[in-house]
Structures are given as C-alpha cells and as structure tokens.
C-alpha cells in the first residue's frame, strides 16, 4: 500500500485510540455521576466485541459466498472456541483451540 494513502489512516487510528485512553486518565480524576452513562460504558466492550465477531468470524477462513468448505471450517472453529470460552479458559487457550478447530475441519476435508 502506498505510504501517502497509509499514513493518514495510521495517524487517525493512533491519535483517536490514544486520546480515548489518555484524556480520561489525565483529566477525569473523579468518578462519573450519571448512572446511565456508567452503565452504557460498562456494556460497550461486550457490544463492540460481539458486533465484530458475529457474523465476521464465519468469514475469517476465506469464505466469500462461493465454495462452502471455508464456511464449515470457520463454523467448526467457532463451535470449539465457544465451548472453551464458555468454560472460562484463558485468551491464549481459546485462541489456539479455535485455530485447532479450523485445522481439524480442514484436515477432514483433505481426507474426503
């Protein structure tokens, strides 16, 4: 990618992300009073990560609407990940388990 296209994106991403982290840590030193706003902020991480995962995870192995096998592999990885995450396994364990789930499904397709 050409640097003239890339650099503005890099700058916007880094600056936005840093300001969100930095301003509250340096300026706000008192707890937020609004209960609704505090509740809203409490739920934001779960809402964001869910919206990024569903249905994006099904396309993470290259499914583009054509050949259905990548979709099946991604679904297998998703099932394994949900099983491990539901049991409260660590980030690393769940990430590796998801990859192994995809690998196992790919292996099966190689055998068929």
């Amino acid at each position: 990618m050409s640097w003239s296209v890339y650099l503005p994106y890099l700058l916007v991403m880094a600056l936005t992300t840093y300001l969100i982290r930095m301003l509250p840590l340096t300026i706000f030193r008192k707890p937020i009073k609004s209960r609704f706003f505090r509740s809203f902020l409490h739920y934001v991480p779960y809402a964001v990560l869910t919206a990024m995962t569903i249905p994006g995870v099904l396309y993470s192995t290259g499914y583009d609407g054509g050949d259905i096998r990548p979709l099946v592999c991604a679904a297998a990885g998703l099932l394994v990940a949900v099983g491990f995450a539901w049991r409260g396994k660590s980030l690393l364990t769940v990430a590796i388990a998801a990859c192994l789930g995809v690998a196992a499904a790919q292996g099966l397709f190689l055998l068929i």
Partner: protein, 238 residues
C-alpha cells in the same frame, strides 16, 4: 510487595505478552492480506496496541474508507478504554504524575487493565512501567513476524490462524455472558443487530464501520436502560 514493583509488573505482563504474540501473529498475516507491508503493519501495532480497533482499521483501510468514518469507528470500538482509564485513574498513587499517566495510558489494553485492577492497593509508576513492557513487545513482535513470515506458512496454517483474534474476543465476551443475564442480553442484541446489518437489504449498504457503531451503541443503550449497573458505594451506604 516482597519483590521490586518493576519486577513484579514485568512478571505479571508475561502471560499477557505470550497471548498477544500469537494473536498479533494472526493480525500480521491479515494486514498483509489487506494490502499492507510488514513495516506498515508493525507501525500500526506499535502505535495502537489494540486488537479490535486494529482489525477494524485494516478492514477499513482495505475498503478505502473515509478518514471521518475511520475516526468514528475507532472512537466507538475503543470507547471502552475511556471507562477503563477512568477506573484506573482511581488506583494510581502519588508517583503517577501527569507524565507517567500520559505514558501508561498508551498501553491501557483490556488485559493490562484487568491485571492492574486486580492488584491490591495503589499502583506506583515502577509497577505500571514493568507491566506494560512485555505485552507491548509481544504485540509488536508478533505482528511483524506474522506479516513477514506468514506468507512462508502453508495456506493450511494461515487459514487456521485467521480465527485466532475472534477466539480472543469470545474469551472476553462469553464468561461474563454466562454469569450475568444483563451482559447476555446485550450480547444477544448486538449479535442480532450485527446479523441484520450484514444480511438485510438496505441495512447491508451501511459502511462496516458505521454498522459496528450502530450495533454497539444501540445494544449498550438497551443494556443501560434495562439493567443499570449497581453503584456499590450507594448500595453500601446506609
């Protein structure tokens, strides 16, 4: 603390750094697939240090989206850090002046926040600096390794690694969903909306960054309206 705070922080950062190394490796591969060079991928990881925001970022870069949409998307996806920073600001001791806060804010990730919050008592600057080093190195190193060497891996392994980052997201979302009906409701609303924005004609025309914003804001608002969080201090007070 029996150990020096800096060493304690370093030690606490090691498991986080190892997790980041593997997930960042997958991010590096995805960056190259999105059209970035290894150096460009590395610079994003070194300056952003956030999985979800970066993943959305490279997708938007690949789609050639407008800078305002990029800024708004990063704002929404990373809004959770504002809450974490507010919470953390209550836990920093007198050695954390403005300069130290400016530095520590840079690495306030979900996992660093979780570990820092779990420490008893106030945090000093030595502990904070120690804690942020290994995760930052792991995240940057994993990215550049994935971007540079990912193409050497057989397609079989590269395909399997693509799901790694989503595994990490699920590990953050699901345990609280299991315990709390409120979180579960928010997650189900966000999932239903995200599916609608992907497949319902008309809605699927909304650019992906704005779709995430709409889903997240609507689901979190519904959660705040239906299940306002308890204020422990108010509850405990007579």
């Amino acid at each position: 603390m029996s150990q020096k705070p800096f060493v304690t922080g370093l030690r606490h950062g090691i498991p986080i750094g190892l997790g980041y190394l593997s997930v960042a490796f997958a991010f590096g591969i995805q960056s190259v697939q999105a059209g970035l060079s290894p150096l460009q991928a590395l610079l994003i990881s070194m300056t952003n240090v956030t999985s979800a925001g970066q993943l959305a970022g490279i997708e938007l870069i690949a789609a050639g989206t407008a800078l305002t949409e990029m800024a708004l998307t990063q704002l929404t996806i990373n809004l959770r850090y504002a809450l974490m920073s507010i919470s953390l600001s209550q836990k920093l001791d007198g050695s954390m002046g403005t300069l130290q806060r400016l530095i520590f804010a840079f690495c306030n990730t979900d996992e660093i926040f979780a570990v820092a919050s779990a420490q008893p008592g106030m945090l000093c600057k030595q502990y904070c600096y120690g804690l942020m080093i290994v995760p930052w190195v792991g995240w940057s190193l994993g990215t550049v390794l994935g971007a540079a060497a990912g193409s050497l891996l057989p397609v079989f392994f590269r395909t399997a690694l693509g799901i790694a980052i989503y595994g990490m997201f699920l590990a953050i979302i699901l345990p609280p969903s299991r315990k709390s009906r409120a979180v579960r409701t928010v997650v189900l609303i966000a999932a239903a909306l995200a599916i609608a924005f992907r497949y319902v004609p008309g809605l699927s025309q909304v650019p992906p960054g704005y779709a995430i914003i709409c889903c997240a804001v609507a689901a979190a608002c519904a959660g705040a309206a239906l299940f306002p969080v308890e204020d422990k201090e108010e509850v405990d007070a007579p």
